[in-house]
Symmetry: C2
Subunit: 339 residues, 2 copies
Amino acid sequence: MTRKGAVSPKRPTIYDLAQIAGASPSAVSSILNGSWKRRRISAATAERVIRIAQEQGYAINLQASMLRRERSHIVGMIVPKYDNRYFGAIAEQFETMARARGLFPVITCTQRDPELEFDAARELVSYQAETIVVTGATEPDRISEFCAAAGVRTINLDLPGQKAPSVLSDNFGGARDLTRLLIQRVTEDFGNAPPLWFVGGRPHDHNTTERLRGFRAALAEAQLDFAAERVLMPGYSPSKALAAMEQADFPAKIGIFVNSTIALEGVVRWLNDHKHRTDARFGCFDWDPFAALLAQNVGMTEQDVPGMLNRLFDIVTSPGDQFPARIEVPCILKPLLHG
Amino acid sequence: MTRKGAVSPKRPTIYDLAQIAGASPSAVSSILNGSWKRRRISAATAERVIRIAQEQGYAINLQASMLRRERSHIVGMIVPKYDNRYFGAIAEQFETMARARGLFPVITCTQRDPELEFDAARELVSYQAETIVVTGATEPDRISEFCAAAGVRTINLDLPGQKAPSVLSDNFGGARDLTRLLIQRVTEDFGNAPPLWFVGGRPHDHNTTERLRGFRAALAEAQLDFAAERVLMPGYSPSKALAAMEQADFPAKIGIFVNSTIALEGVVRWLNDHKHRTDARFGCFDWDPFAALLAQNVGMTEQDVPGMLNRLFDIVTSPGDQFPARIEVPCILKPLLHG
DNA sequence: CTTCAATGCTCAATCGGTTGAGCAACATTG
DNA sequence: CAATGTTGCTCAACCGATTGAGCATTGAAG
């Protein structure tokens, strides 16, 4: 095997291959990118060049290729966090599905910081991303506007925006169904329904307000009363949820609607610090395999990640702009039985 | 605000800005990339160009910039999965730390598929990545060899390789300490130590064999006997772990060393299906906030992700190759007390 | 009044692929 | 034997940013 590494520190280019093969750079280029039949290059030359490329350990320079083609096939994704099941699953499946469609996925994690989100969008635009999928951003419309001016399409995932098509969970329906389950279980376990609490999320976050609306709808349906002081929305962070729980004044028997596994981390820490509270039940909007095994958990709402991503890629791979502004995907309620 | 979008569908380039500003493209380029003082451009011109760039919504074409500079500042990372805490935390912190050092992180997820791993490496080389960090790969040396031929440095994370410097956890020490804790707890809870089982991982995986070695060392120390039939290594998958547990013949009292949270998903599913087994205790190598709350869990081993990444970036950002072939970072044992 | 340096720019080549246009050689048809 | 078509390539102009070389202009020193 001829290895170039030792001779020259530089990577071989199509010009090097052309020289070795006794062909022109354009022939080599078309052979390696598959357009050689259309350009009437003989199979013999193609085979020879491919063999030489392999021997030389050739790898195309995508920077040069994308620059000239003015097509990058890059789909960017902006994600707030990787370190929970929901966004981990989104990132992983997005990557797989993008690759399956011949696209280059590039994912950036922004820690829920609005400035980082915007910087990430700028960076993806500079990478010549053709579409950017925005997830869990604080200011999706600001990003959409900037990207639109740069000729880059954006799609919102898991959040609604005015300036781009949005694919999201049916947060209202999912929360209503989860609350119904919670009411049913606390009634079974405690004899009657104690006051229900809503914990987690941010007051101005769309998903949070929709889930609160679903929560309230289920309460109204069951003729249970709702009180604003039983709603704790300290933001997306386990420690903030824990702190909010510490502050609150709970009765002996409680039922808790937990908004996201992130808040759940705080809630279960609180339950763990107050072991005597065996008369607590909770349900969580979001799924996690270990949280599903906690004794006081009556059910979890799994967001349909493959379903949402399928709808998303329908939009990504379709040329036109004739898409509905907003697509809601139903959630999957997973009731849990313990003991 | 002058918006170009409506007038021309194309993104503005330095040539467009130069025309508007009445300057040359080279002046614009140097102003926007910060080299204008060295190139003796006046502050007045610089300000004017910067203002126009902002007005036009200019974003650099990184493809062109990287092509010309022949420096990409890209650090690639190959990761098997995002959807568990350990790799989620690695990906997230890697991104943050890379950005803090002025590098462009690009992360790819390969689903533990050897072919996808190699393709991902090829793709990162084509993106002109300058360094590639390989995590959880099946054939790290194959990737290192290919990258070395292309002049791209590789570093192994969480796995050892012969062909590249490797940063990994002290799997032996971590497993030994976790096993010691498990022995102590089962002895306290059951009066004496029942046979201990080892569940999870793959027989030819380095981390698995090191952890098994640590497990055996702690058994030997406590003068407990070891039996090969109490070692279940069905691979990294919850369902395979569950299936292996179903097959096994367990006594009434058991202690289980669980190798990774992925295997733990199967183990806890088994425990959940066999609720009468209250005389089971387990410890898990890897940390998860919800798994930490399961009653039978005596402790978890948290791998020191920031510690490992700090050592990793020491290598990334240093020019030479004078690094020790292998750096082991101690794990953090988190004992758990329930009830 | 020349000499020299400093200031503030511009020119043009370059990075590595891509692609429309075109050319030579040979075969086929009228 | 000329006209036309087919095969198998090559040429050269790009894509957009970068950068070494170089060129006016102004000011100060000798």
